[in-house]
Symmetry: C2
Subunit: 331 residues, 2 copies
């Protein structure tokens, strides 16, 4: 009996230790086992195995990620729009003309819907009025100050807490396997760069986004770069492969998005030779996050969903594939 | 006597070993001892010493280098112009109109001086006619093929051998000390990227240069990026800080150039806080390379030389400071 007990105890102990070791070794603990996780792990194993036909040298392990809706939540509105709206309020005393000029007039009355009724041109006006004219250093400070305190309207969490835990794990997992991780976002390049290193481990020089022209000039004898009200790149849709070529100069082998704005980036990635990974986050979890796809005005995923199915790209079903969505949820 | 001999022998041996170790340890063997080498070594020691007031974290160790005249020879003409001239010849059969149209007509008659009499607009026409219209992949292949065989008109060496050995050592030395090394050149971004990794150890995504707009389109159902005849950035003079901010998004702490085209890049680097290194290659060696500065049409160094002296920037005198200029010279 004594021997049996100690054997049993030993077996239990060993099993427990195995469990701990397995959990400690799993680089993607917030991903449920399933096709999504398997596709990622299989791909990484394939391209990192030296001597195998799928092997990819470290220098060519380029992974690109959309930001809004792929790395952090984009509902109920793009975070950068929330930033711009706060800036309109902060700057309104310097712009008395905004009281009677749309889209600012509606905005200042708290009528967001009315302000955005003008569609993209209205948004463009808001962004330019709040982003252009200042120096890059002034703008960076404004973003840093805002992002340190601004909170999500629904959860009351900091926006930088509204990032997807499984994607943080995926970024770290790829980097541990020699990948260089990049953001390729329709959002503003200079809006993301001040915090992506701290939040995602992605340094500013690996952040590609929409951006305007800059002008070098001397102010009080000191060189500054002034943000101009002139678009240089809209890094969305067909602009994403353009941004990738301009900034990276080689084709990614791994691309992750969540909307039709990412379709060309995924197509561009898919069209290269050798092993490729194309992934889409499918927002299916109305309880823990939001559920939206084909008819959403923000982050619409329609053509992309069809193409992913037709081409066998990986569609991550948030509800099914993610054990945990946000870092603040209990593991 | 026996003891004395063995002591002497021991001393000689130890001295010899010390000498070998010292040489093996010198990361800059092609630099003569002097103020240029000392400034570099002192700066690197200062910013890498943890706990010291000058310490700079690895992520912020950004070093930028001009290319033409700083990393490789730019005389008697920019290498990219030689490439463009060869392309004009290669493409002339498809362009019968060039026979009577300047600057192409003069060029095809072998009259380089006449062709370039039109100044920058003429060069611009030549570059656009030979660079635009093709896809980025086609252009990359054209560059790869050309650079593999094209030779310098004076030395008969491959252009990729006409690189400065002391600068190769400096790039490697900085990288060994946690720096990320970047090229910031007035030359074409897509002309440099196909070979900078092999020649300088600088990957394409760390090469910033002048570049045109790109257009994403489908050709035979396959996505391509087409080079358009529209300038996006002239990465020279005030364009250099602009390129740095767009691509890197943080200010370099180390910058090296050789001409007035690099002045704004050096000023932008100098204007940051904390330790800074600003360096200029001064072409003073007519025998091993070329001697030119204030009045040269290529790589003019005039205002920069004055500002360097006034501000205490490091001016590397090629004749005095470099033991060896090119890798093919005997060490």
């Amino acid at each position: 009996m004594k021997v049996k007990t100690s054997l049993l105890l030993g077996t239990v102990l060993i099993a427990a230790i195995h469990g701990i070791v397995r959990a400690a070794e799993d680089p993607l603990p917030s991903w449920n086992d399933g096709p999504g996780k398997k596709a990622v792990v299989d791909f990484v194993a394939r391209v990192t195995k030296e001597g195998s036909p799928g092997f990819v040298p470290v220098a060519e392990r380029i992974a690109v990620f959309d930001n809004d809706g792929t790395l952090w939540a984009e509902q109920p509105m793009y975070v950068q729009l929330a930033f711009a709206l706060d800036r309109v309020k902060a700057l309104s005393s310097q712009h008395p003309e905004w009281k009677t000029k749309e889209p600012f007039a509606s905005l200042l009355k708290g009528d967001l819907k009315g302000a955005l009724a003008g569609g993209e041109p209205a948004i463009f006006q808001i962004v330019m009025a709040t982003h252009a004219g200042m120096t890059t250093e002034e703008f960076e400070k404004t973003v840093r100050d805002w992002i340190a305190t601004a909170k999500h309207p629904k959860t009351g969490r900091l926006y930088t807490e509204m990032v997807y835990q499984p994607m943080l794990e995926l970024l770290a997992y790829l980097r541990a396997n020699g990948f260089k991780t990049w953001i390729v976002s329709g959002g503003g390049q200079e809006f993301m760069r001040p915090w992506t290193e701290r939040v995602y481990g992605i340094p500013p020089e690996q952040v590609i986004g929409s951006h305007g022209e800059l002008k070098y000039e001397l102010r009080d004898g000191k060189p500054v770069l002034v943000k101009e009200a002139k678009v240089a790149l809209i890094d969305d849709k067909a602009g994403k492969p353009v941004g990738i070529q301009k900034f990276i100069g080689r084709r990614p082998i791994f691309a992750f998005g969540n909307s039709d704005g990412d379709l060309e980036m995924l197509q561009w990635t898919a069209a290269g030779s050798g092993p490729r990974f194309m992934g889409l986050v499918h927002h299916t979890d109305a309880e823990r996050e939001w559920a939206y796809d084909r008819k959403s005005s923000i982050g619409r995923l329609d053509k992309g969903l069809d193409e992913a199915k037709a081409k066998g790209w990986t569609v991550v079903d948030m509800k099914r594939d993610w054990r945990r969505v946000f870092p603040f949820e209990k593991p």
